[in-house]
């Protein structure tokens, strides 16, 4: 436990170094690049000063890190607002979207993976494998466009505008997040289904499964009680990686639906060359990713006594 948390601190430190170094790699003077070709000499000098670019790199890093540790990610060049506040007001949308997508991915992925393994090589298994192949090949943001086309444009089940955050109206938020969550979730489900099916097949070949069947336990009970529990353990380890994929995917899918999440912030930051904002978003999401992975590792220990004993 202590070892895991120490590793987390090391990872977070490494993440902050790389994120800071990103700005140092900007070709040319960051201040003039950010302000564009029309900027006056005075405004460039002013931003140069504000960003502390006249100081040596280690000093700049120390100042920046000191700010980060106190929750100050700097100010947006374009909006003139604290980056942490801008991220904060959009975080609920992105995180709700990721949570919904993860739920869909786990339910759909695990159930179809189990179905495929239990009916190995049958018609259901072929369908599950087709789903895996297609799911791994379709870009999630394109699937999002197709869902939008079908459910919003053709069937008119979900309106195109009128989103409210989960804090403002729970059901409105869920209604608007359902389609993007489905697009993200289906793609991740394909991944999970592939793993669940593979582990399930492996576990079902084990002696204790045969013993359980031999002593007359019902097939269903053996499948779900004995086999699934063991097959799910390795699947849980990939959930952490899935969260990373979901965070990245959400950034792109949000822009399809025009949702006011982190994704929209990234796109506007790219267009306005708002580097402190980009830096802040990457630091924030990488930190969420690192913490989730440690949480997954710890929960693995809780679920599997063998790991805990070590």
């Amino acid at each position: 436990m202590v070892k895991r948390l120490a590793a987390l601190v090391a990872v977070l430190a490494a993440i902050s170094v790389v994120t800071f170094a990103l700005l140092a790699f900007i070709p040319g003077d960051p201040a003039s690049v950010m302000l564009g070709p029309d900027a006056t000499r005075e405004s460039i000098a002013e931003l140069h000063q504000a960003l502390g670019l006249d100081r040596p790199v280690p000093v700049r890093f120390a100042i920046w890190l000191g700010g980060v540790l106190r929750g100050n990610l700097g100010s947006s060049i374009f909006a003139h607002r604290p980056v942490s506040a801008m991220i904060g007001e959009r975080l609920s949308t992105t995180l709700t979207l990721c949570a919904l997508a993860l739920l869909i991915a786990v339910v759909l992925g695990v159930s179809s993976g189990v179905l495929g393994a239990v009916r190995q090589d049958g018609a259901a298994d072929q369908l599950v494998r087709l789903f895996q192949l297609v799911g791994l090949s379709v870009p999630d943001f394109w699937l999002a466009i197709l869902l939008l086309l079908l459910f919003s444009v053709e069937l008119r089940w979900v309106p195109l505008v009128g989103y409210k955050t989960i804090g403002e109206s729970f059901w409105t938020a869920i209604r608007f997040l359902a389609l993007p969550a489905l697009a993200l979730g289906v793609v991740q489900a394909a991944n999970l289904a592939r793993m669940t099916r593979a582990y399930m097949l492996e576990v079902l070949r084990n002696d204790y499964v045969r013993t359980a069947r031999a002593k007359g336990l019902a097939g269903r009970r053996v499948t779900y009680h004995h086999a699934l529990r063991n097959a799910l353990l390795p699947v849980i380890t990939v959930l952490g990686i899935q969260v990373g994929a979901l965070l990245s995917g959400a950034v792109v899918v949000e822009t399809v639906f025009g949702l006011p999440g982190i994704g929209q912030l990234v796109v506007s930051a790219i267009f306005t060359r708002d580097y402190p904002l980009i830096q802040g978003i990457i630091l924030y999401t990488a930190a969420i990713y690192a913490v989730t992975n440690v949480a997954v590792d710890l929960s693995y220990g809780l679920l599997d006594p063998r790991v805990r004993a070590e």
Partner: protein, 278 residues
């Protein structure tokens, strides 16, 4: 050349591999020959023809500027597949060499290389690519560099894993006792034994990188308009979804087909070259 024959013989046995190979061949053919066979210019604007549904003259319809979507899709294939391929190559060379070096040398060099790759792997892949590409400024070159940076650590790990057992082999010691230098041993003796792992990892990552390239261009990090890339076409098309869905549908279909082909071929290569992984 026997392993290559073996790949073909094994692959020919299942229809899935055949379909994958066909999809991949079609995508590569479109990327190489597409611009030559495209019916029109990918950037010629013809406002009177704007947002035409697919018809005999424009098989895939036209976009908001009256540009032929089929021509743009074919050109887009060259840009998108070309960028992904360059990124895979760049990442393979850089990451592969570092991995080989770490795996063969061990010790401090290995530690440094592996910890550096850990740091890059600590980021959600696409977000790191977004950050790098955004900092380098939009354009195909920054997308390629960003994707290569994200991908190289993954290749480094795989190659290190492949090089580690080779290091202990007697023929390596024999080569060393004959006075061969580290560079010669790495390239002539260690590398050939790691080629299967390299091919498997490369082909599996290619599809992921193609998807990531599409996402980055979709976000507006690629070449500025009017250059057609599949991701950028999807991004333009989504504004005309209600009136002209074909602008978004065809480039998306092409991405999916190319990625599916790569995935199927990657799976086949893995089954044949590295049975332990399947």
């Amino acid at each position: 050349m026997r392993p290559i024959l073996r790949v073909f013989r094994r692959a020919g046995r299942t229809w899935v591999s055949v379909i994958g190979a066909l999809l991949l061949a079609a995508s590569i053919a479109a990327a190489v020959a597409g611009p030559a066979v495209a019916p029109g210019s990918p950037i010629a604007i013809a406002i009177p023809d704007r947002l035409e549904a697919p018809n005999a003259r424009h098989w895939f319809g036209t976009d908001q500027y009256g540009r032929d979507v089929l021509s743009r899709t074919l050109w887009g294939g060259r840009y998108s597949i070309g960028a992904a391929f360059t990124a895979v190559m760049l990442g393979t060379v850089v990451g592969g060499l570092l991995g080989l070096l770490g795996g063969y040398h061990g010790g401090r060099a290995d530690w440094v290389i592996m910890r550096a790759s850990d740091v890059f792997l600590a980021f959600p892949a696409l977000l790191l690519a977004i950050g790098v590409a955004a900092v380098l400024g939009s354009g195909m070159k920054s997308i390629v560099i960003a994707l290569a940076i994200v991908y190289a650590p993954r290749m480094a790990r795989v190659m290190r894993g492949a090089a580690l057992p080779v290091r202990q082999m007697e023929y390596i010691e024999a080569a060393r006792s004959e006075g061969a230098g580290a560079g010669r041993i790495l390239l002539r003796h260690v590398l050939p034994n790691c080629i299967p792992a390299l091919i498997v990892q490369g082909s599996i990552s290619f599809s992921q990188i193609l998807l990531a390239e599409a996402a980055l261009s979709f976000l507006g990090l690629g070449e500025p308009p009017p250059t057609p890339t599949w991701g950028a076409m999807l991004s333009e098309g989504k504004d005309f979804l209600t009136t002209a869905p074909w602008v978004s549908i065809f480039p998306g279909l092409c991405i999916s087909a190319a990625v599916l082909g790569l995935n199927l071929v990657g799976d086949t290569l893995r089954d044949v070259l590295d049975p332990r992984l399947s």
